[in-house]
Symmetry: C4
Subunit: 255 residues, 4 copies
Amino acid sequence: MEEIKINMIERPELKKTILIEGLPGIGLVGKLAGDHLKDELKAVKFAELTSTYLPPQVSIQDDGTVKLVNMEMYYWKGKENDIILLLGDFQGLTPESQYYIADRILDFGKDYDLRRLYTLGGLGTGAITHTPRVFGAATSKNLVSELEEYGIVFKGGGAIFGASGLLLGLSIPRKIEAVCLMGETHGQIIDAKSAEAVLQILTKILGVEVNMNELKKKARQTEDQINKMSQMIDTHRKSVERQQELLDENPFYIR
Amino acid sequence: MEEIKINMIERPELKKTILIEGLPGIGLVGKLAGDHLKDELKAVKFAELTSTYLPPQVSIQDDGTVKLVNMEMYYWKGKENDIILLLGDFQGLTPESQYYIADRILDFGKDYDLRRLYTLGGLGTGAITHTPRVFGAATSKNLVSELEEYGIVFKGGGAIFGASGLLLGLSIPRKIEAVCLMGETHGQIIDAKSAEAVLQILTKILGVEVNMNELKKKARQTEDQINKMSQMIDTHRKSVERQQELLDENPFYIR
Amino acid sequence: MEEIKINMIERPELKKTILIEGLPGIGLVGKLAGDHLKDELKAVKFAELTSTYLPPQVSIQDDGTVKLVNMEMYYWKGKENDIILLLGDFQGLTPESQYYIADRILDFGKDYDLRRLYTLGGLGTGAITHTPRVFGAATSKNLVSELEEYGIVFKGGGAIFGASGLLLGLSIPRKIEAVCLMGETHGQIIDAKSAEAVLQILTKILGVEVNMNELKKKARQTEDQINKMSQMIDTHRKSVERQQELLDENPFYIR
Amino acid sequence: MEEIKINMIERPELKKTILIEGLPGIGLVGKLAGDHLKDELKAVKFAELTSTYLPPQVSIQDDGTVKLVNMEMYYWKGKENDIILLLGDFQGLTPESQYYIADRILDFGKDYDLRRLYTLGGLGTGAITHTPRVFGAATSKNLVSELEEYGIVFKGGGAIFGASGLLLGLSIPRKIEAVCLMGETHGQIIDAKSAEAVLQILTKILGVEVNMNELKKKARQTEDQINKMSQMIDTHRKSVERQQELLDENPFYIR
C-alpha cells in the first residue's frame, strides 16, 4: 500500500500556476481562508491525496455515505496565473509524515508550471485584536521586499510548523518562490476575521476579486457553534502547545 | 520478518462472499456480535493474521499453552452467500498500521469472490438506552437506500475510526460495497444488548437465523464481570477519548 | 545502517542447544536469574546484538570507557545440552521492534542446533510472598505435562509481554519447543528471591548445579540499594502499567 | 524523499581532522561551547544536514526569510589538525533517528581523514557550582589516560544520551577515537560558565587559543533572557526527565 497516493479526477492544463495551501492550523485561519477562496472562485476539484499518514478514519456525509480522510486539490484558471488550492481537514500525524507530504505536494506541482506558493496560517498572539495584521515569511529577500508593499509585516523570530512551514523550507532547494501569510489571531478561537484579513491581502496580490460576505457569515455561524466546539478548541490549543513542547523539548533530548 | 502475515489453515472455495468484521471497539459491540455469529453459525477458522503491528504479547490459554496475538478469519457456507468473519482481540496499534491491515484484509478478500462487507461497531452516545437503534454508513447511496428498509438509521456527521471505518474507505476505490452497522451504546460499558440489536438486523439482511440466547447469557455473564473489568473499561474509555483527541488535535498541528 | 546487528566475538560449535532468555522485566526476576546463571556457569560471551531499536545511549564503565547499549549472548558447554544465554539491560523500545528482535534471535538460534527455549520473567501479584511459586506457559501440551513434574504451576489467563512472550509465540510456527518460567513476585521490588525460585527449578530441569550464595548476596545488596533505586522502581512500575494500559486500550481503539 | 540529506556548500580538503559535536543538550553546555568555538575560530560553513527526523518546521530569520531546520558543519584549518564542527538547534526526534543521524555523521567524516571526535555536553548534578569540573568518557583506556592529564575527571556510572553518546558508541566498531567532555552543570539553567570550562580544556587539548570574552558576555545576556526563557527551560528539564524515564522504563517493559 502506497503511503501517499494522489488520485486524479481531472487532468487540467495549468500555466504560471500559483499554489495556495489552506490546511487546518492555529485559529483555523488558513483553512477558513482557503476554503472560502475555493468557494468564491468556484474552483474545481481535480485531485485527492489519501495517505496512511492521515488519521485512520472515514467521515460520514449528510447522505449517509462515507469519505476517506484526504487532502483535496482544486484548480481555477485566471487571466495571468492559474491557481491550485490545497485544502483538507487534517495534516500528517507524525513529524516525518509532514515532510513526506510536503515533498509530495511540491513534486505534484512540477506538472503544473508552478511559479509560486502561498501558505496560509494564523499567528497566535494570545490577545484579541479587532484589526488583525498579516505577518509574512518568505524564501527570499526579493519576495520580502515585493510583499512588504502590500502591508504584510515581516519580522524575524519564531517558527512555522507543519505544511505551511515545510512547503516553504522544501521550496528553497527547488528554487520555487514561496511565502507564508499569517493572520494575527488569538490562537484559541476559530478566527474568520483573521482569515478575512489574510484573504484581503492575498486577493490583492493575486489580482482577483472575492466577495467576503460568506466568510463574514461563516464567522458568525462559527461563533454560534463555538460553545459546541469549545471542547474541540481547547483540545486544539493543547495539541498545538504539546506539539510545540515536543519540538522545543526534543532539541534538549541529550546532554 | 513480514509486517503482516496470513497463515492459511484451510483453503475453502467461497462464492458471492460477504465479509463481516467484528473487531473490538466502542462497547465491544462489534466484537460481541461477530463472536456470537461465529459461534452460532459454527463457522470454521481457516486463516490467522499475525502482525508486528499487533501488541507484542502472547496470551496464556486454559491448558497452559500460549497463543500469539492475532486476528482470525472464519468461513461459513450459506445458501446464497458464503460468509467470512474477521475476528480478534486487538486492532493495529498505530494509525498507519490500521491502513496496512485493512488494505491487506481487502487484498485477502479478492481470492474469495468478495461481494460485500459489513463492519460492526458501536456508536457511543453517553446515554443508557433500553431499545438501542442501529446506525449505518455506507459506500454508496444505493446501499443507503437498500438498507434503510431494514430500519437502519443513516444520518450525517461524525467519523468511524479504525478497521470499521477504513475497510469502508478503502473499499470505495476497489468498487466493493461496504456498510458499517453501529449499535447505539453508552460507550463506557460492554454492551451485549447493543450487539444483539446489530445482529438482529444483520441476520435479517443475511437471511440467516441465529439463536440469541447465548448472547443474552453473555450479556449477563459480562455484567457479572463488570466489577472486575471496570478498570479495564475505564481504561478503554480513556483510550478511545485519547485516540479521538489525537485525531482531533493533529489536524491543528500547524499554523 | 542495519536496524539489528549481531557482532560475533567467537563462533563456538554448539549441540542440542538450549537458549535461555534473561532480559529485564517485572521485578527484574528474569534478568537476575539469567545474569546469575551466566556468572556461576562462567559462560563465555560470544556475540553482541546492537540495534536502532534500543535506547540511543552509551553507558559509562568503571574505567571511564563507554559501551553502546546492547544485548549479549553467552554460551556454556554442558554434558547433554549446550546453553546459550541471552542477556542485557534493555528490550526493544517499540512494540514492532519487540517482534523484530525476537525474530532475529530465533534466526540466530538456527545456527546452533537450537532444541528448546526457556524465557525467564516475573509474575506480578501485588502481594509479598516468602515462598514464591514458579508459573509456566509453554508452546505445547506435551511441554506442559513434562514441566508440571517439576512443580511449575500452569494455569490459563493473562498474557506475557515482550521478549519472554514473543520468543514463545514466534517459536510455534518454527516448531521450536519453548517455555516461559515466571517467578511469583510483588511487581514493585527487584526480587532476587523470586529469581532464586526460578533458577532452582530451571537448574533442576537442565541438570546443572549452581551455587545460589551470590544471588542471595545480590538480593541483600539489592535491598540496600532499594532506597536509592526506589524512584526507578516506581518509574518501572508505572511503565509496566502504562505499557499494559497501552496494550489493553488499543484493542478498543475503534468502534 | 531522503530521510537524511547532506547538502555540500563547499568541498574543503581536510587533513588529520578532529570532529567536534556541539548540539543542544543538558544546560545547552555543548551547544554554547560549540557555537562559541565556531565564532572565535571563524570556522566556515561547508555542509548542511536536513532530515525528516528533525522537527517539521522552518525558523523565521531577521530579514523575514525562512530557514529549514538543519544541522550545520563548519571547518577550520589548523596547524596540526583541521577541525570540523557539527552544530545545530535540534537533535533527531526519535530514538531510532538518533542512531541514523550519528551513523551518517560518521560516514560523512570518512571523506575528511577523521582522526578523533570530541562530543560536548553537560553533566547535570542538580547543584550550583562556581568552579565546574569537566567529566569525560572515552572509547579506549589509552584515551582516558591521555586526557586525565588535562584534569578531565573519568568515573564510571551513568549514561550519555543522544548524539554525544552515540557518536562515541558507533565510533568503537569503526576504530575511531572518540571522547565526550561533559561540563558539570545544574541541569536546569543554560550554563555558559560550564561551557567555558569545557572549552578551556578542549582548546588546551587542541592547542588553539580562543578568546572567552564573548562567551562570558553570552552568559550574561543569557541570564538576562532567563526570565523569558524560564518556561522553555522548565520544558527542557521535563523533557530530559521524561526521555530519561522513557529509557529507564522501557527496559522493564516486559516480564
